[in-house]
Subunit: 131 residues, 4 copies
Protein backbone atom coordinates (compact mmCIF):
# COMPACT_ATOMS: atom_id res chain seq x y z
CA UNK A 1 0.00 0.00 0.00
CA UNK A 2 2.60 2.56 1.09
CA UNK A 3 6.05 3.11 -0.31
CA UNK A 4 8.96 1.44 1.45
CA UNK A 5 10.22 3.51 4.38
CA UNK A 6 13.95 3.36 5.15
CA UNK A 7 15.43 3.97 8.59
CA UNK A 8 19.15 3.68 9.48
CA UNK A 9 20.42 1.79 12.55
CA UNK A 10 23.97 1.79 13.97
CA UNK A 11 25.12 -1.32 15.86
CA UNK A 12 26.40 -0.66 19.39
CA UNK A 13 27.77 -2.90 22.18
CA UNK A 14 24.23 -3.26 23.62
CA UNK A 15 23.01 -4.92 20.41
CA UNK A 16 25.60 -7.69 20.28
CA UNK A 17 26.12 -10.92 22.22
CA UNK A 18 29.15 -13.06 23.07
CA UNK A 19 28.92 -14.83 19.68
CA UNK A 20 30.33 -11.55 18.32
CA UNK A 21 27.19 -10.82 16.29
CA UNK A 22 23.91 -9.00 16.87
CA UNK A 23 21.57 -10.87 19.27
CA UNK A 24 18.54 -12.27 17.44
CA UNK A 25 15.90 -10.54 19.60
CA UNK A 26 17.57 -7.17 18.95
CA UNK A 27 16.34 -7.15 15.34
CA UNK A 28 12.76 -7.01 16.66
CA UNK A 29 13.68 -3.77 18.41
CA UNK A 30 15.17 -2.45 15.16
CA UNK A 31 11.99 -3.35 13.29
CA UNK A 32 9.85 -1.69 15.95
CA UNK A 33 11.98 1.46 15.55
CA UNK A 34 11.38 1.24 11.79
CA UNK A 35 7.60 0.99 12.29
CA UNK A 36 7.62 3.87 14.78
CA UNK A 37 9.64 6.07 12.41
CA UNK A 38 7.33 5.25 9.48
CA UNK A 39 4.41 6.38 11.68
CA UNK A 40 6.30 9.51 12.80
CA UNK A 41 7.05 10.37 9.15
CA UNK A 42 3.27 10.26 8.56
CA UNK A 43 2.52 12.38 11.63
CA UNK A 44 1.32 9.53 13.85
CA UNK A 45 2.83 9.50 17.37
CA UNK A 46 2.56 6.80 20.06
CA UNK A 47 2.22 9.52 22.74
CA UNK A 48 -0.84 11.00 21.02
CA UNK A 49 -2.41 7.60 20.40
CA UNK A 50 -1.89 6.71 24.07
CA UNK A 51 -3.76 9.89 25.11
CA UNK A 52 -6.69 8.61 23.00
CA UNK A 53 -6.45 5.24 24.76
CA UNK A 54 -5.01 3.52 21.68
CA UNK A 55 -1.90 1.47 21.15
CA UNK A 56 -0.35 -0.95 18.68
CA UNK A 57 0.41 -4.53 19.68
CA UNK A 58 2.29 -7.14 17.66
CA UNK A 59 0.07 -10.17 17.13
CA UNK A 60 2.27 -12.25 14.85
CA UNK A 61 5.83 -12.16 13.50
CA UNK A 62 7.47 -14.48 11.02
CA UNK A 63 11.20 -13.77 10.98
CA UNK A 64 13.99 -15.20 8.81
CA UNK A 65 17.56 -14.60 9.92
CA UNK A 66 19.68 -14.87 6.77
CA UNK A 67 23.01 -13.29 7.72
CA UNK A 68 24.60 -11.85 10.85
CA UNK A 69 25.52 -8.22 11.57
CA UNK A 70 28.28 -7.02 13.88
CA UNK A 71 29.57 -4.08 15.91
CA UNK A 72 29.83 -0.71 14.09
CA UNK A 73 27.72 -1.93 11.13
CA UNK A 74 25.22 0.51 9.70
CA UNK A 75 22.00 -1.22 8.78
CA UNK A 76 18.81 -0.06 7.08
CA UNK A 77 15.35 -1.15 8.20
CA UNK A 78 12.95 -1.13 5.26
CA UNK A 79 9.26 -1.12 6.19
CA UNK A 80 6.29 -1.59 3.85
CA UNK A 81 2.66 -1.42 4.97
CA UNK A 82 1.10 -4.22 2.92
CA UNK A 83 -2.49 -3.78 4.07
CA UNK A 84 -4.68 -2.05 6.64
CA UNK A 85 -8.07 -3.58 7.39
CA UNK A 86 -10.11 -2.60 10.43
CA UNK A 87 -7.80 -3.08 13.43
CA UNK A 88 -5.11 -4.99 11.49
CA UNK A 89 -1.94 -3.74 9.80
CA UNK A 90 0.18 -6.16 7.83
CA UNK A 91 3.76 -5.09 7.22
CA UNK A 92 6.81 -6.45 5.48
CA UNK A 93 10.17 -5.51 7.00
CA UNK A 94 13.73 -6.15 5.87
CA UNK A 95 16.97 -5.36 7.66
CA UNK A 96 19.79 -4.72 5.18
CA UNK A 97 23.49 -3.85 5.19
CA UNK A 98 23.91 -2.04 1.90
CA UNK A 99 22.36 -4.39 -0.66
CA UNK A 100 22.73 -7.50 1.53
CA UNK A 101 19.53 -8.76 3.11
CA UNK A 102 20.19 -9.82 6.72
CA UNK A 103 16.75 -10.34 8.27
CA UNK A 104 13.25 -10.50 6.73
CA UNK A 105 9.95 -10.39 8.57
CA UNK A 106 6.22 -10.30 8.05
CA UNK A 107 4.49 -8.54 10.93
CA UNK A 108 0.84 -8.38 11.94
CA UNK A 109 0.10 -5.42 14.18
CA UNK A 110 -3.29 -4.79 15.80
CA UNK A 111 -4.72 -1.54 17.16
CA UNK A 112 -6.06 -2.02 20.68
CA UNK A 113 -7.92 0.11 23.18
CA UNK A 114 -6.80 0.59 26.80
CA UNK A 115 -8.47 -2.71 27.81
CA UNK A 116 -6.55 -4.60 25.11
CA UNK A 117 -9.51 -5.10 22.75
CA UNK A 118 -8.91 -4.67 19.01
CA UNK A 119 -10.44 -1.47 17.61
CA UNK A 120 -10.58 -0.06 14.08
CA UNK A 121 -7.78 2.35 13.27
CA UNK A 122 -9.38 5.82 13.62
CA UNK A 123 -10.22 7.49 10.31
CA UNK A 124 -7.79 10.40 10.75
CA UNK A 125 -4.87 8.02 11.45
CA UNK A 126 -5.90 5.80 8.54
CA UNK A 127 -5.89 8.87 6.29
CA UNK A 128 -2.36 9.81 7.38
CA UNK A 129 -1.11 6.27 6.67
CA UNK A 130 -2.90 6.06 3.29
CA UNK A 131 -1.70 9.37 1.87
CA UNK B 1 11.38 -36.06 20.05
CA UNK B 2 12.14 -34.93 23.61
CA UNK B 3 9.70 -34.37 26.44
CA UNK B 4 8.51 -30.84 27.06
CA UNK B 5 10.93 -28.88 29.26
CA UNK B 6 9.44 -26.29 31.63
CA UNK B 7 11.35 -23.22 32.86
CA UNK B 8 9.88 -20.47 35.11
CA UNK B 9 10.30 -16.74 34.37
CA UNK B 10 9.43 -13.83 36.68
CA UNK B 11 8.47 -10.51 35.05
CA UNK B 12 10.56 -7.51 36.18
CA UNK B 13 10.53 -3.79 35.29
CA UNK B 14 13.14 -4.45 32.56
CA UNK B 15 10.72 -6.77 30.70
CA UNK B 16 7.84 -4.32 30.41
CA UNK B 17 7.18 -1.24 28.27
CA UNK B 18 5.05 1.91 28.70
CA UNK B 19 1.95 0.04 27.47
CA UNK B 20 2.06 -1.62 30.90
CA UNK B 21 2.67 -5.08 29.44
CA UNK B 22 5.72 -7.16 28.53
CA UNK B 23 7.54 -5.84 25.42
CA UNK B 24 7.12 -8.21 22.45
CA UNK B 25 10.85 -8.74 21.82
CA UNK B 26 11.34 -9.75 25.47
CA UNK B 27 9.55 -13.07 24.86
CA UNK B 28 12.35 -14.04 22.48
CA UNK B 29 14.77 -13.66 25.38
CA UNK B 30 12.51 -15.81 27.56
CA UNK B 31 12.40 -18.50 24.86
CA UNK B 32 16.18 -18.37 24.46
CA UNK B 33 16.50 -18.87 28.25
CA UNK B 34 14.14 -21.85 27.91
CA UNK B 35 16.29 -23.40 25.15
CA UNK B 36 19.48 -22.76 27.12
CA UNK B 37 18.01 -24.37 30.24
CA UNK B 38 16.78 -27.40 28.26
CA UNK B 39 20.36 -27.80 26.98
CA UNK B 40 21.81 -27.30 30.49
CA UNK B 41 19.42 -29.95 31.86
CA UNK B 42 20.90 -32.34 29.26
CA UNK B 43 24.49 -31.40 30.12
CA UNK B 44 25.10 -29.19 27.09
CA UNK B 45 26.67 -25.78 27.86
CA UNK B 46 27.21 -22.81 25.53
CA UNK B 47 30.62 -22.17 27.12
CA UNK B 48 31.81 -25.69 26.26
CA UNK B 49 30.40 -25.52 22.73
CA UNK B 50 32.14 -22.16 22.20
CA UNK B 51 35.49 -23.74 23.20
CA UNK B 52 34.91 -26.30 20.42
CA UNK B 53 34.17 -23.45 17.99
CA UNK B 54 30.45 -24.23 17.91
CA UNK B 55 27.40 -22.11 18.52
CA UNK B 56 23.66 -22.08 17.95
CA UNK B 57 22.05 -19.42 15.77
CA UNK B 58 18.34 -18.80 15.26
CA UNK B 59 17.49 -19.08 11.54
CA UNK B 60 13.73 -18.71 11.66
CA UNK B 61 11.04 -17.87 14.21
CA UNK B 62 7.29 -17.84 13.76
CA UNK B 63 5.73 -16.18 16.81
CA UNK B 64 2.07 -15.70 17.77
CA UNK B 65 1.31 -13.24 20.57
CA UNK B 66 -2.06 -14.34 22.00
CA UNK B 67 -2.29 -12.55 25.34
CA UNK B 68 -0.23 -10.00 27.28
CA UNK B 69 1.72 -10.52 30.51
CA UNK B 70 2.49 -7.88 33.12
CA UNK B 71 4.75 -6.95 36.03
CA UNK B 72 5.17 -9.57 38.80
CA UNK B 73 3.62 -12.34 36.65
CA UNK B 74 5.24 -15.76 36.85
CA UNK B 75 5.36 -17.40 33.46
CA UNK B 76 6.47 -20.82 32.27
CA UNK B 77 8.42 -21.38 29.06
CA UNK B 78 7.67 -24.83 27.64
CA UNK B 79 10.19 -26.10 25.11
CA UNK B 80 9.89 -29.18 22.88
CA UNK B 81 12.60 -30.37 20.51
CA UNK B 82 10.54 -31.51 17.52
CA UNK B 83 13.40 -32.75 15.35
CA UNK B 84 17.17 -32.75 14.97
CA UNK B 85 18.60 -33.34 11.51
CA UNK B 86 22.21 -32.60 10.66
CA UNK B 87 22.82 -28.98 11.68
CA UNK B 88 19.10 -28.17 12.22
CA UNK B 89 17.01 -28.27 15.39
CA UNK B 90 13.30 -27.58 15.17
CA UNK B 91 11.62 -26.58 18.41
CA UNK B 92 8.17 -25.66 19.58
CA UNK B 93 7.96 -23.16 22.44
CA UNK B 94 5.02 -21.82 24.44
CA UNK B 95 4.97 -19.14 27.10
CA UNK B 96 2.20 -19.74 29.62
CA UNK B 97 0.77 -18.15 32.77
CA UNK B 98 -0.72 -21.10 34.59
CA UNK B 99 -2.87 -22.82 31.98
CA UNK B 100 -3.24 -19.70 29.80
CA UNK B 101 -1.20 -19.68 26.61
CA UNK B 102 0.32 -16.23 26.05
CA UNK B 103 2.87 -16.70 23.25
CA UNK B 104 3.55 -19.61 20.87
CA UNK B 105 6.55 -20.06 18.60
CA UNK B 106 8.16 -22.43 16.18
CA UNK B 107 11.92 -21.99 16.13
CA UNK B 108 14.56 -23.23 13.71
CA UNK B 109 18.03 -23.25 15.26
CA UNK B 110 21.20 -24.11 13.33
CA UNK B 111 24.56 -25.26 14.67
CA UNK B 112 27.38 -23.18 13.18
CA UNK B 113 31.17 -23.22 13.33
CA UNK B 114 33.28 -20.18 14.21
CA UNK B 115 33.06 -18.91 10.60
CA UNK B 116 29.26 -19.09 10.67
CA UNK B 117 28.92 -22.17 8.44
CA UNK B 118 26.31 -24.78 9.41
CA UNK B 119 27.85 -27.98 10.82
CA UNK B 120 26.28 -31.25 11.98
CA UNK B 121 25.58 -31.38 15.69
CA UNK B 122 28.49 -33.45 17.13
CA UNK B 123 27.57 -37.04 18.01
CA UNK B 124 28.14 -36.66 21.75
CA UNK B 125 25.86 -33.59 21.94
CA UNK B 126 23.24 -35.33 19.79
CA UNK B 127 23.35 -38.28 22.21
CA UNK B 128 22.77 -36.01 25.20
CA UNK B 129 19.77 -34.38 23.49
CA UNK B 130 18.31 -37.72 22.34
CA UNK B 131 18.49 -39.52 25.68
CA UNK C 1 18.93 -2.29 58.68
CA UNK C 2 17.79 -5.52 57.04
CA UNK C 3 19.76 -8.70 56.60
CA UNK C 4 21.48 -9.26 53.27
CA UNK C 5 19.12 -10.79 50.71
CA UNK C 6 20.65 -13.18 48.15
CA UNK C 7 19.19 -13.80 44.70
CA UNK C 8 20.73 -16.06 42.01
CA UNK C 9 21.15 -14.97 38.37
CA UNK C 10 22.14 -17.17 35.41
CA UNK C 11 23.96 -15.50 32.50
CA UNK C 12 22.31 -15.98 29.08
CA UNK C 13 23.17 -14.81 25.54
CA UNK C 14 20.99 -11.71 26.06
CA UNK C 15 23.21 -10.53 28.93
CA UNK C 16 26.51 -10.59 27.05
CA UNK C 17 28.07 -8.39 24.37
CA UNK C 18 30.64 -8.93 21.62
CA UNK C 19 33.51 -8.45 24.11
CA UNK C 20 32.53 -11.94 25.33
CA UNK C 21 31.53 -10.66 28.76
CA UNK C 22 28.35 -9.35 30.40
CA UNK C 23 27.35 -5.88 29.13
CA UNK C 24 27.83 -3.23 31.85
CA UNK C 25 24.21 -1.97 31.82
CA UNK C 26 22.94 -5.52 32.32
CA UNK C 27 24.17 -5.52 35.94
CA UNK C 28 21.67 -2.73 36.70
CA UNK C 29 18.90 -5.10 35.58
CA UNK C 30 20.32 -7.81 37.84
CA UNK C 31 20.39 -5.40 40.77
CA UNK C 32 16.81 -4.30 40.05
CA UNK C 33 15.80 -8.00 40.08
CA UNK C 34 17.55 -8.34 43.43
CA UNK C 35 15.67 -5.35 44.88
CA UNK C 36 12.35 -6.64 43.51
CA UNK C 37 12.95 -10.09 44.99
CA UNK C 38 13.92 -8.62 48.37
CA UNK C 39 10.59 -6.74 48.32
CA UNK C 40 8.69 -9.87 47.19
CA UNK C 41 10.27 -11.85 50.03
CA UNK C 42 8.84 -9.22 52.42
CA UNK C 43 5.40 -9.34 50.78
CA UNK C 44 5.74 -6.06 48.84
CA UNK C 45 4.72 -6.27 45.16
CA UNK C 46 5.14 -3.65 42.40
CA UNK C 47 1.69 -4.54 41.03
CA UNK C 48 0.02 -3.74 44.37
CA UNK C 49 2.02 -0.53 44.84
CA UNK C 50 1.04 0.57 41.31
CA UNK C 51 -2.65 0.09 42.18
CA UNK C 52 -2.08 2.50 45.10
CA UNK C 53 -0.44 4.97 42.70
CA UNK C 54 3.03 4.31 44.10
CA UNK C 55 6.27 3.30 42.46
CA UNK C 56 10.00 3.18 43.14
CA UNK C 57 12.42 5.22 41.04
CA UNK C 58 16.20 5.09 41.14
CA UNK C 59 17.58 8.54 41.95
CA UNK C 60 21.30 7.75 42.23
CA UNK C 61 23.61 4.82 41.58
CA UNK C 62 27.31 4.56 42.22
CA UNK C 63 28.64 1.42 40.53
CA UNK C 64 32.10 -0.17 40.56
CA UNK C 65 32.81 -2.85 37.98
CA UNK C 66 35.63 -4.96 39.46
CA UNK C 67 35.63 -8.16 37.38
CA UNK C 68 33.77 -9.47 34.31
CA UNK C 69 31.25 -12.31 34.13
CA UNK C 70 30.56 -14.51 31.12
CA UNK C 71 28.06 -16.86 29.52
CA UNK C 72 26.69 -19.69 31.72
CA UNK C 73 28.04 -18.11 34.93
CA UNK C 74 25.81 -18.27 37.97
CA UNK C 75 25.95 -15.06 39.95
CA UNK C 76 24.46 -13.94 43.24
CA UNK C 77 23.00 -10.48 43.81
CA UNK C 78 23.31 -9.50 47.46
CA UNK C 79 21.07 -6.65 48.56
CA UNK C 80 21.15 -4.77 51.87
CA UNK C 81 18.72 -2.03 52.85
CA UNK C 82 21.00 0.43 54.65
CA UNK C 83 18.38 2.99 55.62
CA UNK C 84 14.79 4.05 55.02
CA UNK C 85 13.89 7.67 55.74
CA UNK C 86 10.67 9.22 54.48
CA UNK C 87 10.58 8.62 50.73
CA UNK C 88 14.23 7.46 50.50
CA UNK C 89 15.70 3.96 50.61
CA UNK C 90 19.46 3.54 50.58
CA UNK C 91 20.72 0.13 49.53
CA UNK C 92 24.05 -1.58 49.09
CA UNK C 93 24.22 -4.22 46.36
CA UNK C 94 26.97 -6.62 45.34
CA UNK C 95 27.08 -9.02 42.42
CA UNK C 96 29.22 -12.07 43.21
CA UNK C 97 30.37 -15.29 41.53
CA UNK C 98 30.96 -17.57 44.48
CA UNK C 99 33.17 -15.55 46.81
CA UNK C 100 34.48 -13.25 44.05
CA UNK C 101 33.04 -9.74 44.04
CA UNK C 102 32.29 -8.64 40.47
CA UNK C 103 30.22 -5.46 40.81
CA UNK C 104 29.43 -3.22 43.80
CA UNK C 105 26.82 -0.49 43.98
CA UNK C 106 25.23 2.00 46.31
CA UNK C 107 21.68 2.79 45.24
CA UNK C 108 19.30 5.54 46.28
CA UNK C 109 15.68 4.68 45.53
CA UNK C 110 12.79 7.08 46.06
CA UNK C 111 9.08 6.30 46.47
CA UNK C 112 7.00 8.44 44.13
CA UNK C 113 3.30 8.99 43.50
CA UNK C 114 1.67 8.75 40.06
CA UNK C 115 2.72 12.35 39.26
CA UNK C 116 6.36 11.56 40.05
CA UNK C 117 6.48 13.43 43.38
CA UNK C 118 8.37 11.80 46.28
CA UNK C 119 6.06 10.46 48.99
CA UNK C 120 6.76 8.80 52.33
CA UNK C 121 6.79 5.02 52.18
CA UNK C 122 3.35 3.98 53.55
CA UNK C 123 3.42 2.66 57.12
CA UNK C 124 2.29 -0.87 56.22
CA UNK C 125 5.05 -1.23 53.59
CA UNK C 126 7.63 0.25 55.97
CA UNK C 127 6.56 -2.30 58.58
CA UNK C 128 7.05 -5.18 56.13
CA UNK C 129 10.54 -3.93 55.23
CA UNK C 130 11.52 -3.33 58.87
CA UNK C 131 10.45 -6.70 60.25
CA UNK D 1 40.04 18.11 27.49
CA UNK D 2 37.83 17.71 24.44
CA UNK D 3 34.82 19.77 23.46
CA UNK D 4 31.39 18.44 24.41
CA UNK D 5 30.07 15.96 21.85
CA UNK D 6 26.29 15.90 21.29
CA UNK D 7 24.40 12.84 20.06
CA UNK D 8 20.58 12.65 19.61
CA UNK D 9 18.48 9.74 20.92
CA UNK D 10 14.82 9.01 20.16
CA UNK D 11 12.81 7.11 22.80
CA UNK D 12 11.09 3.93 21.55
CA UNK D 13 8.86 1.30 23.21
CA UNK D 14 11.99 -0.80 23.99
CA UNK D 15 13.40 2.00 26.18
CA UNK D 16 10.40 2.37 28.47
CA UNK D 17 8.96 0.31 31.32
CA UNK D 18 5.48 -0.12 32.82
CA UNK D 19 5.95 3.02 34.96
CA UNK D 20 5.43 4.87 31.67
CA UNK D 21 8.95 6.33 31.70
CA UNK D 22 12.38 5.30 30.42
CA UNK D 23 13.88 2.36 32.38
CA UNK D 24 16.85 3.49 34.47
CA UNK D 25 19.37 1.03 32.97
CA UNK D 26 18.48 2.23 29.46
CA UNK D 27 20.30 5.53 30.06
CA UNK D 28 23.55 3.59 30.38
CA UNK D 29 22.98 2.30 26.84
CA UNK D 30 22.34 5.86 25.65
CA UNK D 31 25.56 7.03 27.30
CA UNK D 32 27.48 4.15 25.74
CA UNK D 33 26.08 5.19 22.33
CA UNK D 34 27.25 8.72 23.06
CA UNK D 35 30.79 7.55 23.89
CA UNK D 36 30.88 5.32 20.79
CA UNK D 37 29.74 8.20 18.56
CA UNK D 38 32.31 10.57 20.08
CA UNK D 39 34.98 7.96 19.23
CA UNK D 40 33.55 7.46 15.71
CA UNK D 41 33.60 11.23 15.13
CA UNK D 42 37.34 11.09 15.96
CA UNK D 43 37.93 8.12 13.64
CA UNK D 44 38.19 5.50 16.41
CA UNK D 45 36.12 2.34 15.80
CA UNK D 46 35.43 -0.58 18.19
CA UNK D 47 35.82 -3.04 15.29
CA UNK D 48 39.35 -1.80 14.54
CA UNK D 49 40.33 -1.76 18.21
CA UNK D 50 39.04 -5.33 18.61
CA UNK D 51 41.28 -6.45 15.70
CA UNK D 52 44.24 -5.02 17.66
CA UNK D 53 43.09 -6.95 20.72
CA UNK D 54 41.89 -3.82 22.50
CA UNK D 55 38.58 -2.88 24.05
CA UNK D 56 37.05 -0.36 26.44
CA UNK D 57 35.48 -1.47 29.69
CA UNK D 58 33.51 0.65 32.15
CA UNK D 59 35.18 0.53 35.58
CA UNK D 60 33.05 3.01 37.48
CA UNK D 61 29.86 5.01 36.94
CA UNK D 62 28.25 7.55 39.20
CA UNK D 63 24.77 8.34 37.89
CA UNK D 64 22.17 10.89 39.06
CA UNK D 65 18.64 10.49 37.74
CA UNK D 66 17.08 13.96 38.00
CA UNK D 67 13.99 13.76 35.77
CA UNK D 68 12.17 11.09 33.76
CA UNK D 69 11.85 10.83 29.96
CA UNK D 70 9.01 9.18 28.06
CA UNK D 71 7.97 7.68 24.73
CA UNK D 72 8.65 9.77 21.60
CA UNK D 73 10.96 12.18 23.49
CA UNK D 74 14.08 13.30 21.67
CA UNK D 75 17.05 13.47 24.01
CA UNK D 76 20.62 14.63 23.60
CA UNK D 77 23.58 12.80 25.12
CA UNK D 78 26.40 15.24 25.84
CA UNK D 79 29.82 13.66 26.35
CA UNK D 80 33.01 15.36 27.57
CA UNK D 81 36.37 13.62 27.89
CA UNK D 82 37.70 15.11 31.12
CA UNK D 83 41.06 13.33 31.16
CA UNK D 84 43.07 10.56 29.57
CA UNK D 85 45.93 9.06 31.58
CA UNK D 86 47.55 5.79 30.61
CA UNK D 87 44.75 3.24 30.36
CA UNK D 88 42.11 5.49 31.99
CA UNK D 89 39.57 7.83 30.39
CA UNK D 90 37.40 9.98 32.63
CA UNK D 91 34.24 11.31 31.05
CA UNK D 92 31.31 13.47 32.05
CA UNK D 93 27.99 12.67 30.40
CA UNK D 94 24.62 14.41 30.55
CA UNK D 95 21.31 13.32 29.04
CA UNK D 96 19.13 16.31 28.21
CA UNK D 97 15.72 17.07 26.73
CA UNK D 98 16.19 20.52 25.24
CA UNK D 99 17.69 22.54 28.08
CA UNK D 100 16.37 20.23 30.84
CA UNK D 101 18.97 17.97 32.45
CA UNK D 102 17.52 14.48 32.97
CA UNK D 103 20.51 12.29 33.88
CA UNK D 104 24.11 13.14 34.80
CA UNK D 105 27.02 10.72 35.04
CA UNK D 106 30.72 10.54 35.66
CA UNK D 107 32.25 7.55 33.91
CA UNK D 108 35.64 5.89 34.25
CA UNK D 109 36.54 3.78 31.21
CA UNK D 110 39.66 1.62 31.00
CA UNK D 111 41.43 0.29 27.91
CA UNK D 112 42.04 -3.45 28.23
CA UNK D 113 43.82 -6.10 26.18
CA UNK D 114 42.20 -9.39 25.12
CA UNK D 115 43.02 -10.94 28.53
CA UNK D 116 41.28 -8.09 30.35
CA UNK D 117 44.44 -6.37 31.60
CA UNK D 118 44.57 -2.56 31.48
CA UNK D 119 46.89 -1.22 28.77
CA UNK D 120 47.89 2.31 27.80
CA UNK D 121 45.76 3.80 25.06
CA UNK D 122 47.91 3.44 21.89
CA UNK D 123 49.59 6.66 20.75
CA UNK D 124 47.69 6.90 17.46
CA UNK D 125 44.32 6.58 19.21
CA UNK D 126 45.38 9.07 21.88
CA UNK D 127 46.34 11.50 19.11
CA UNK D 128 42.91 11.17 17.49
CA UNK D 129 41.17 11.83 20.81
CA UNK D 130 43.42 14.77 21.69
CA UNK D 131 43.12 16.65 18.40
Amino acid sequence: MTKAYHFPIRIYYEDTDFSGNVYHATYLKFMERGRTELLRARGVYHKDLAKRGLGFVVRHMDVWYDKPAGIDDELIVETCVNSIRGARLELGQTVMRGSEILVRARVLVVVVSANGRPVRLPGDVLQLLRD
